[in-house]
């Protein structure tokens, strides 16, 4: 008798976001453009309140930094809390609450020195707080996101040497241990904290108020160890629809709008009304081929698929040009990326030849996709057309977006895939080892695992770089990820907002960072 009349409408609204943005455009005048970003000079001005609009998750939003799942959760966690380390724009770990880290010769015992910092209640940040936070994250009964990242640490054996020194015992040599300290969600909370309705952290802003799904207000922390923020206050507001975030920005209701569509960016870039900041290399875009089953258990078929992709067309069509082409490797622009490998381009003749040799002529494949990420469905359609030119019939199957990632983990053969920024080492350990928990390409090779272990046991940086190169060379030749592009992450700001970093992929230290931002 009663149905939910709006359920389909929201889907429709989302699908027509582009049209809405185009209509919105009609109200915009021209004018000279100002480039935003760090290069824009001017002396920081103190004071003011910045309102930042993010997509949210309603009642599911949380201020527990270890539960952070959404971008808005992560941005708020970053304002209230600190990690021991965080990622620079090349995804290398930079010291934060830690000032130094020093391994033993076996790389399985790391001594981390903390800086002098205080929580918002005036208590110092100590080694005990660090151990408490990590043990909370690693609780086997809970499902905190950073748990998998902290897996190498033997927390029972780790100890506080003194108030500002932690000795981490690891289960095995881990040369890239600083990446663990910078892991997504590995925030330091005061010892004993279980509830976060009035969170106390050591971050640049103090808690004022929070209404899940609506707004969070934080005030400047004058005692912040890196210097007090320029802003008096930051307010995070939640607006699920991209068009609403754009309208709020254009109407002067917010000064910062996170996660805009490429079409919106193009419409407003250089028009003088708002600034568009493109955070390059924020999201890897690709297809995951299951390497353990037909037809992709034959490396020749995988190579043929690499050669089918016209990457420039995919970037242009699926990302509206907001991105750059990929080379079947994760982590373009990040440290340890094998930038020396030749850029792969479309070669349909060779693809046909490879498929023939593999006995896979007239190949039919189902490509699983879902509107779970921007550009997925579009990329699937474009790739289907490209494959047709090589004689491959692709049937695109659109799945449910709420359970997509689980659905494609072990089922199907070919699926749309994306990944946010993380160190190349994390990408390998989470997705490409025999015991990886989210191995969507089912890439399981003992010799590859061994290379990874060797890499983690190698102290010398150039030797380690050679190992990174070797592993990536193999993935480039016959891996399961067809990485066709890297999407920009697009942020819009009001013209008087200064100090928004332009070279910070999503999830890095400078992404959604508001203590260095000011209002001119």
């Amino acid at each position: 008798m009663h149905d939910y009349p709006g359920l389909h409408r929201r889907g429709f609204l989302a699908a027509t976001g582009g049209a809405a943005a185009a209509l919105t455009l009609a109200g915009c005048g021209g004018g000279p453009a100002l480039k935003s970003g760090k290069d824009q000079g001017g002396k920081p001005r103190r004071g003011g309140r910045l309102r930042a609009a993010f997509a949210g998750g309603g009642a599911a939003e949380t201020l527990d930094p270890h539960l952070s799942n959404l971008f808005v959760d992560a941005a708020r966690a970053k304002a209230l809390f600190d990690k021991l380390a965080d990622y620079g724009s090349d995804m290398s770990a930079r010291p934060r609450l830690a000032t130094r880290w020093e391994p033993n010769s076996g790389l399985d015992r790391w001594t981390v020195t903390l800086r002098e910092a205080v929580f918002h209640d005036g208590k110092p940040v100590t080694a005990e707080d660090v151990l408490y936070s990590y043990r909370r994250i690693a609780d086997p009964k809970k499902a905190y996101r950073a748990k998998a990242s902290l897996e190498p640490v033997d927390l029972a054996e780790s100890r506080a040497v003194d108030a500002r020194t932690v000795e981490f015992r690891l289960k095995r040599p881990t040369a890239e241990f600083p990446n663990v300290l910078a892991a997504f969600g590995a925030y330091i909370v005061p010892k004993g904290t279980e509830r976060f309705d009035k969170p106390v952290g050591s971050g640049p802003f103090r808690f004022v108020s929070f209404a899940p799904g609506r707004s969070a207000v934080f005030r400047r922390n004058d005692a912040y160890w890196e210097g007090a923020p320029h802003l008096d206050e930051i307010e995070f507001v939640v607006a699920g629809e991209e068009s609403a975030r754009v309208n709020a920005l254009l109407g002067g209701q917010v000064e910062y709008a996170h996660e805009l569509n490429p079409t919106t960016a193009r419409a407003h870039e250089g028009k003088g009304q708002v600034e568009i900041v493109r955070l390059r290399n924020s999201a890897m875009q690709g297809f995951a081929m299951k390497t353990d089953r037909a037809p992709f258990d034959d490396p020749q078929v995988r190579e043929a698929f690499f050669l089918i992709a016209d990457r420039a067309e995919l970037v242009k069509g699926a990302l509206s040009g907001a991105g750059e082409v990929g080379n079947d490797l994760f982590g373009k622009g990040y440290t340890h990326y094998a930038a020396g490998l030749p850029q792969r381009t479309q070669d349909l003749d060779r693809a046909r030849h490879l498929l023939k040799r593999a006995g896979a002529e007239d190949l039919r494949v189902t490509l699983d996709t879902s509107p779970v990420a921007a550009g997925f469905v579009e990329a699937a359609g474009i790739f289907r057309d490209q494959a047709e030119k090589a004689g491959v019939t692709i049937e695109v199957k659109t799945g449910n977006k709420d359970s997509y990632w689980k659905d494609i983990l072990d089922s199907g053969t070919l699926s749309s895939y994306r990944s946010g920024a993380m160190p190349i080492e994390s990408h390998i350990s989470q997705r490409l080892l025999t015991d990886s928990t989210t191995n969507a390409t089912h890439w399981r090779h003992k010799d590859f695992d061994a290379l990874y272990q060797r890499l983690q046991s190698t102290k010398n940086t150039s030797e380690r770089n050679a190992l990174y190169e070797r592993m990536q060379r193999r993935l480039h030749a016959e891996g399961g990820f067809l990485v066709w592009g890297f999407a920009d992450w697009i942020v819009g700001t009001a013209r008087r907002v200064r100090g928004v970093a332009g070279d910070a992929p999503a999830n890095t230290l400078d992404w959604a960072r508001f203590d260095t931002v000011w209002l001119a």
Binding site: C28, G58, N400, L409
Partner: protein
Amino acid sequence: MTAAPPGPAGASPWRSWAARRLLLGLAQTAAVVLLVFVLTEALPGDAAVALAGDDPDPARIAAIREALHLDRPAHERLADWTTGLLHGDLGVSLASGRPVTSALADGFGPTLLLAALTVTLLVPLGVGLGVLGARREGGPVDRAVSSLTLAVYAVPEFAFGVLLVTVFALRLGWLPPTAVGYGTDLLAHPAVLVLPVLVLLARPVCSLSRLVRAGMIDALAAPYTAQARRYGVSGARVRYAHALPNAVAPAAQQLARTVDWLLSGVIVVEALFVVPGLGTVLMDAVAARDVPVVQGLAVVFGLVAVVLNLAADLVARRFAPRSGVAA
């Protein structure tokens, strides 16, 4: 029912009619709840999968599932929830761990406010336009009103909303484009309510006025109004005391449907203007597979629909007893 005082003739069948309607309504609500439970169970993935998002580590999903007690059989969860419901307890949200009632209460304020404002303006506007058209049937005013209402009715809410925002908020700067940052206390900022209420009003005004117009024209052409005129009853009295009530019956039922639509949270308007009402709660809950919240909403929406339809039938019976409303 010996305690019941003897009523006037006709009260008893009326009362049994209302009782039957109420019972039917409760049965319908129970059916809705059951259906919602079955359908949410049938959706691919559960709250654990939705929460895990793009990090579908099987061990993590299993841990979430255990923490949320999703590893228990479906019928046990349904039984638990129903027992709670009978005590007025709607359970706890899987996504936030807070009581479902507080999630519903948070969303109810803005939705109720928008619905109340819309209906307050809708009734005089819809009836007024309908009467205007009926009085001048076929004339230029009637034709203008008819074409305008038909045209506006054809525009979907989101397109109309985008148009209004572009013109009045972004171009002219008269009104705020969204309710972002105002929280739930929207009444304190009446300016943010103007555009959402206009969008909500647009289509119901059209349908209501067309129904009133048609009903009145029918009634005015009916033999009994001609008879009334022959008895020398004044034109105004014929129109407002005899013809209008006949038009009210279908209009009341249309109005009930509209109020039901408004109270269920008009998702497209809430999303466009960032109003944190029930529609937004529902969308988030479905996306998070937050079954207790979805079920709580189903109960509330079911009850609202039943009560409103009952009220509409009462009104229809009162104004046009001959239209024979079935129980």
